[in-house]
Amino acid sequence: MDPERRQSSKGSLSEEKKNEKIKREKSASSSKEKDQWVCVLHDELVKTKHTEESDRLQSSVCKLRHPRTKAGGLYLISPEETEIFQLFNFKEKYRSWFIGNKVHSDGDLNFTAPMDPLFLLLPYLMATNESKKFMTLDQLICDEDFPDCVKLVSLCSPDQVSLISDCKDIDDDTKVYRFSKEKTLSWLKQKTEILADALADKKVQVSSKGSHSSMFVRSKSAATSRESFVEYAHGIVSDCLSVTLEEELKIYLGISDEKEKDQDSQAENEPPKKRAKLEGDITPTDDYSLGVDLKKSKKNTKLTTAQKQLSKVDKSGMKSISSFFSPKS
């Protein structure tokens, strides 16, 4: 029986023991040499035409600067260096793989998704914005930390780059570029709109009020507004943009932060209330307070024999018994 099971049968572990257990597991998995990865790769990366030349070309894994986090991210480049893909890691807490008749303890799934190289180029373009100089792609893309960035030069076609920048032709073959905010925002807006259309097509849940289960049946279908889809799409696009550009795009698209409560409440039409609505003034049918007048004096209560005798006596010099029990002044 494995040790984890034995421990849990003793009852809840204390915090310390839990942390120790996590540390042990982590060190165990990192010391275990990972040499197998389950991936979902785009066909461009794995299916090559078998010619003599292309047999020598291979897909490569590169580390490039992520446009949002500014740290390194992993990207895969196709053998002919024409397409680039972002590498994502899907990790759920308790997952493992069975592959054929083999057990694979690492339950991660690595998958690739296409990446528009212009998103990777943008930070470099924007960095030169202050100087307002026109530069060639080679000059623009310089990064000491990420030498693989030179591959971006071949990945970005001049037509595409001109979508986000002003460009000039120098000496016939050389093209120089300068960041253009208007062009970039327009390009981003288009991307956001296309993405919003896709979200609407796939009926993705985009409302901000909590999460929705797709299996929950609502009494009336809520029509999600186009604005919510655009806002959601803006969020997804911003994952590839710097914070300042995200803010500028938000203004450009006209997305406001105000929460529209009416929209949200209308979205969920609850089933009709069971309580019948009352009409007119609500008064109780029997009002028991009407007969009582609190200001009237209380009825005379009967006095006991002792109380009768006391009332006949002159009480002017008498102390009440409670005065013997009061605290010393």
């Binding site: 597991e25 040499e33 990972k34 040499d35 197998q36 990865w37 389950v38 991936c39 979902v40 790769l41 066909d43 990366l45 794995v46 047999d55 291979q58 897909s59 490569s60 894994v61 740290a71 991210g73 992993l74 972002q86 994502f88 899907f90 308790y94 997952r95 793989w97 069975f98 592959i99 054929g100 008749n101 083999k102 057990v103 303890s105 799934l109 998958f111 296409p114 528009d116 925002l185 327009s186 390009w187 288009q190 991307k191 296309i194 993405l195 896709a198 796939k202 993705v204 985009v206 409302s207 797709s214 299996m215 959601y232 803006h234 969020g235 997804i236 203004i251 698209l253 006209g254 406001s256």
Partner: protein, 178 residues
Amino acid sequence: MATSIDSTALDHTSNVSDSCHFMPCKIHFDGEAKISDFFCSSFKHEDGSLTGKFRGRPLNGKELNVPEGYTGVVLTEPHKRSTEEEDRLLIPSHTFDKFTYWNLDKEPSPDDLIERALQWVDLSAVLHRPLSTEQSQDSQEMSGQGVVGRARTTKQKGPYRSWGIFAIHCATNVPQSQ
């Protein structure tokens, strides 16, 4: 320093589409096991749903196809490099175009994280498709100045972050073998 994937080896891989299972439990073991004898024999197909048993626990499974234009690949690194500077080569050992994912005692639904992850691949493709130059030029003429609105710093992260619940993040390290 470079890491590459040898795609020519794809022809020599075995297709494991029928025996690729994504289990709802963490198994601290790597190696051969009699999966087909003990696990696959417990499968039952009833009313279009798939159930199985593992270590006495009920599992509900669903077959998922790998998105179109993609291939599931199991990459291995047969030779570990001895220095940091050496190139790394990853070789596919198995391929699959579908796999079965299992939930512990819960019906598979489109809300399951793995399904959403694969849906993300499609959405990402839409976002990252390069725009044609004609499309972009038209929109530039139409867009004008855009709408002026108040710039506010977002205090809370937007709703799209719910995709983040399945921990999607850039793999920042090249798969470590040490």
